[in-house]
């Protein structure tokens, strides 16, 4: 990741399980060049935070000159890492966006099994939140919508269109009900 001047930047987003194993992770910074260094970082962060209670509110810590904001739900641990100097509240908004979107996408069943079964959605979700370290979107419902919204493709054949449409509408409907 190159430096983007004064722009807030995200170093990584991690979704780990309750044993610290990867569910889905995305690194945007070169701070951890190899898979082993990434795994070491994940293990370190997981063990340092595992004992804390970050369930009701997102919690925060400073590890190895990185600010890490995290939140746990069921057997899932959400982390967002930023540089030492980053505005903590911006990082928190990214975590909140990620968490909200995942909650919507998993229809409130925020747990490891559900996450793995919908891994495609989780990965798309990560892709829609941050692009190469730059924050793309922090609004959870919007992110979820971008992941699921399959607005009509005019070129698509009718049969396929209706199917897609039906699927999309169903998704949207669910999303709406969950939002309430």
């Amino acid at each position: 990741m190159a430096s983007y001047g004064l722009c807030p930047s995200i170093k990584n987003i991690l979704l780990l399980d309750s044993e610290g194993k990867r569910v889905a992770v995305k690194y945007y910074s070169d701070d951890w060049p190899t898979n082993n260094s990434k795994l070491a970082f994940e293990k370190f962060v997981f063990t340092k935070t595992a004992k804390t209670n970050a369930r009701a509110e997102a919690d925060i810590t400073l590890l190895e000159n990185n600010v890490i904001i995290y939140k746990f739900v069921q057997d899932l641990h959400f982390f967002v890492t930023g540089g030492d100097d980053e505005n903590e509240l911006i990082l928190a908004s990214v975590l909140q966006g990620f968490f909200d979107a995942v909650t919507l996408l998993l229809r409130n069943n925020v747990e490891k099994r559900e996450a793995l079964e919908n891994l495609d959605l989780i990965l798309l979700c990560l892709d829609e939140i941050v692009d190469g370290g730059m924050i793309l979107e922090t609004n959870g419902p919007l992110i979820a919508e971008k992941v699921t919204s399959h607005s009509l493709d005019a070129d698509a054949p009718l049969s396929e269109q209706t199917l897609t449409q039906a699927w999309a509408t169903a998704r949207e409907h669910l999303t709406r009900t969950l939002l309430k």
Partner: protein, 887 residues
């Protein structure tokens, strides 16, 4: 919150139910990827396979080049499908595979088609994918579409294009800079995130143009920025402008301060915090400016959100370093944070309180800190330790409780950096607070009893060696130090030996016991430890006699090592094993920025050795080194004496030459230091022709020309003569400087190829008897005089004729003899009628000579002198008389 804890691998089947990816294998998935090639695409199936591939990549599995290429090619087939979900997955995996340039071409047309699709989602994603994998050449083709996309009415498309622009600016700045009109338009977008991305890109396009950035900030701070993220960016840019506008704000009206202050009332906490932080980081911020920022941060301290509390307390902590008074208002809120569940927040609160607190609250704070030290990370512990150190220096009376705290945490578990911070703190406290010394040293002693860090052990041992002997009871440290010799690795053992030696050197009562300990170290199985023990036993006189430690030894043990280690290393590397022992004095002391270029010919060293001596011993060493570096002179034996430079030219002539006479036992070497003062000339093959016809006993041995003498860079040429061994042979030499002149163009530095031979007459040079006498002083002239005995004494009287004064006469004789005046007798008291001068020296052949001169004024100006000489050799005594008689 109750939640089912995941049970650890109760059962294999359980686990299988758990993960849809259980037992997943790269090879199998790659096989499955063949479905991409089916003529009848099953979109759902394909999506699943891509998800599996992504899962593998996400778990850290890597594909070989061949595998990645194969997957990439089959994935490109999936562009045929119109399934939206599948297309999203295709985009995702193309980004993950990061294809090579030649592969990118395959998908370019498909992606460009998607970029122009009516589907917003296609457009946005295709832009991001294409910009991620593309290189500069392709960029010009799609530039038009990207410009359109930036101002697309769909915010997702616009953001995609803008963010891609931010990435591309790093690699293709000249292209992205052409988009600024579109970007500027996007800044006005109603969509929050588009505004944020556009602002970020616009600023980066203009970041090197201060004026443009300043204008941008000025116009935006007046307008309305909708997105909190964009507002945060604007705050950052504003503080940058403030920083760069410098110190024109002494009046107190800082430009843009009002804007920052107004942001403190923004509805988004993110913006409020960014503004508060920006204000606290203003250079030379006044307390009036700080107050509103501190107030909002104080409100954050009691927030229910840990992130807010953390952000606020961290910022206040930083403020407390520079403006502790401004933060004291928050002390009550801070104190309630000491028990915060989040240990990071608690630590920051404590350290802030330590910085702002007063003497009476110290003990209470220490108690609270002790409670939570064990459950915070090392980084925070270091912060606490540093805060305590500064607190202790602030309130020296409280050193006892603070020192106790430090020693307690020193005993607990911790990493190197943490332990080092504690040890450094204790060392500083010992230095700065005399009362804390004894207890601090004992804490350190206890620490090294069980210290796993070699570096820290050696540092502490060194420190003990310096400070320990100065305490009231040095003996109590010995046990701790000697224990190291038993229990530690070789490095620590070696330092322990050094420390023991320091105690021995500084404390005489301990000496016998130290010797016993050092002698035991002689049997250590490590070379360094044995060497050190042997060395110290010898220097301290460990052969039984307990004598007072020499000053030299103390210097050796306690003195600072003033030779740059790099120089020592170079010298040691250059040293070749020979009869000649390595001499540390020969190591140059000046710190060189770069190592001496070894290819440089020794004769051309531009060190200006010919310059008048700065200090006699150092120049002598320098001469010796210089001569030794020339192979021809290596076999001349030991240099006996080098004279002071004698000028052979008038001042300010074309060529400045002086000569240094180097006297050896059987040889004399003349070192001609030549300087070319004409910028238009380069001299080559410079040599001095010496006519020794008036010095019959000398015969020329060889000469060493100077290959080239550029303008203003001194060089040396040498001529060597043989002479009768050990005798003070004198003679007169006439000199002609001979060289080839080449014209130089001083502007370009170019040299013409053809040169002209030329000569230059130098003044004559004499070798006199004084050249054979070394100035060597004696500490007690009377003792030395008596010890030589009267047998060798030669006495005679001389009339020196009319002199200006008695002092002038004394000086003349001293210079004539070239001997060292002793006991300050070279100074003649004013108006005295008579004076006695004592001289000592060493004559060539290492013969000690002492001279007693008695001067008396005979009549108004005539000076008479009685010369008494004693030496180890009668002939030498006669020689001295001869010198005076002929002078």
């Amino acid at each position: 919150m109750a939640q089912p804890l995941v049970k650890k691998d109760d059962d294999r089947d359980d686990e299988a139910e758990y993960s849809p990816f259980l037992g997943i294998e790269k090879g199998a998935v790659l096989q499955e990827a063949r479905v991409f090639n089916d003529p009848q695409l099953d979109a759902r199936r394909c999506s699943q396979v891509i998800t599996k591939l992504l899962y593998l990549l996400n778990q850290g599995e890597s594909f070989t080049k061949v595998e990645a290429t194969e997957v990439f090619f089959s994935v490109t087939k999936l562009f045929q499908s119109r399934d939206l979900g599948l297309r999203r997955m295709v985009y995702l995996i193309i980004k993950e595979l990061s294809p090579s340039a030649d592969e990118v071409i395959i998908v370019t047309s498909s992606l460009m088609k998607d970029m122009n699709s009516k589907t917003d989602m296609y457009r946005a994603n295709a832009i991001r994918v294409l910009c991620r994998i593309t290189d500069g050449t392709l960029l010009t083709q799609i530039e038009r579409y990207l410009k359109q996309a930036i101002v697309d009415k769909n915010p997702v498309v616009a953001s995609a294009a803008l963010v891609s622009g931010i990435h591309l600016l790093q690699t293709n700045p000249e292209i992205v800079k052409r988009w600024s009109n579109e970007v500027q338009e996007a800044v006005q977008s109603r969509a929050a995130l588009v505004q944020f991305h556009a602002l970020a890109l616009l600023h980066q396009i203009r970041q090197n143009d201060r004026l443009a950035v300043s204008k941008l900030v000025t116009s935006l701070t007046r307008g309305t920025v909708r997105s909190p993220l964009a507002q945060c960016l604007l705050i950052r840019y504003t503080s940058q402008v403030i920083r760069e506008s410098g110190n024109n704000a002494q009046s107190g009206d800082r430009p843009f301060y009002d804007f920052l202050e107004s942001c403190l009332r923004h509805k988004s906490e993110m913006v409020i915090f960014e503004a508060a932080k920006a204000i606290t980081e203003l250079s030379g911020v006044t307390s009036r400016e700080l107050t509103p920022a501190i107030t909002v941060l104080q409100l954050f301290l009691s927030s229910s959100k840990p992130v807010l509390r953390f952000a606020a307390v961290r910022t206040l902590n930083k403020v407390a370093m520079t403006h502790p008074m401004a933060v004291t208002n928050c002390n009550i809120d801070m104190e309630s944070l000491i028990s915060d569940q989040n240990r990071s927040i608690a630590t920051l609160a404590i350290t802030t309180l330590l910085k702002t607190g007063n003497e009476s609250s110290v003990d209470r704070l220490m108690k609270q800190i002790t409670n939570f030290m064990s459950d915070i990370a090392d980084e925070f512990k270091i912060v606490v330790v540093e805060a305590i150190r500064s607190l202790c220096l602030k309130f020296p009376l409280k050193y006892r409780s603070l020192m106790n705290f430090l020693s307690n945490i020193l005993r607990e578990e911790g990493g190197f950096d943490y332990k080092k911070a504690i040890v450094d703190s204790i060392v500083i406290l010992i230095r700065d607070i005399p009362d804390a010394k004894e207890s601090g040293l004992l804490h350190l002693c206890e620490f090294i009893e069980d210290c796993e860090f070699t570096y820290l052990s050696t540092q502490i041992l060194h420190f003990l060696g310096v400070e320990g002997p100065k305490t009231s009871d040095p003996s109590k440290y010995i046990r701790y130090i000697y224990n190291r010799v038993h229990l530690e690795n070789a490095t620590v053992r070696a330092s322990a030996v050094s420390t023991l030696a320091k105690f021995g050197a500084a404390v005489d009562e301990l000496k016998p016991r130290i010797f016993v300990l050092l002698r035991r170290c002689l049997f250590d199985n490590d070379d360094e430890v044995r060497d050190r023990a042997t060395l110290y036993l010898n220097t301290l006189g460990g052969d039984g006699a307990v004598v007072e430690t020499d000053k030299d030894v103390k210097d050796f043990l306690f003195g600072s090592f003033d030779i740059p280690l790099a120089n020592l290393e170079t010298s040691l590397k250059n040293y070749e094993p020979s009869e000649e022992p390595f001499d540390i004095i020969s190591v140059p002391k000046e710190v060189k920025s770069q190592p001496l270029a070894e290819k440089k010919a020794p004769g051309k060293k531009p060190t200006g050795l010919g310059a008048p001596a700065s200090g006699p011993s150092s120049t002598a060493d320098a001469y010796e080194r210089l001569l030794l570096s020339i192979p021809e002179f290596a076999n001349l034996g030991k240099l006996f004496k080098s004279s002071a430079p004698v000028e052979l030219t008038e001042a300010e002539t074309e060529y400045a030459v002086n000569v240094v006479k180097h006297i050896f036992d059987r040889h004399v070497v003349f070192q001609y230091n030549c300087t070319n003062t004409i910028p238009e000339q380069l001299l080559e093959d410079v040599i001095v022709l010496v006519d020794a016809s008036e010095a019959e006993e000398f015969s020329e041995l060889f000469s060493k020309p100077l290959r080239s003498l550029p303008y203003d860079s001194p060089g040396q040429t040498f001529v060597a003569f043989e002479k009768p061994e050990g005798l003070p042979t004198v003679g007169k030499f006439s000199n002609i400087l001979k060289f080839i002149v080449k014209e130089v163009d001083p502007t370009t530095g170019e040299t013409e190829d053809d040169g002209v031979e030329d000569e230059y007459q130098l003044e004559d040079l004499e070798v006199v008897a004084a050249d054979y006498i070394l100035k060597v002083g004696v500490s007690n002239f009377r003792n030395a005089w008596e010890s030589l005995g009267p047998d060798s004494e030669k006495v005679d009287e001389y009339g020196l004729g009319p002199r200006e004064s008695l002092a002038e006469a004394v000086n003349t004789v001293i210079n004539l003899l070239g001997m060292q005046p002793c006991e300050g007798t070279e100074v003649v008291p004013p108006n005295s009628r008579s004076h006695t001068c004592l001289l000592s020296g060493v004559f060539i052949g290492n013969v000690k000579v002492l001279v007693r001169l008695s001067f008396g004024l005979d009549g108004p100006k005539d000076v008479a002198m009685k010369l008494s000489v004693r030496s180890e050799d009668e002939n030498v005594s006669d020689a001295i008389h001869e010198i005076v008689a002929s002078g």
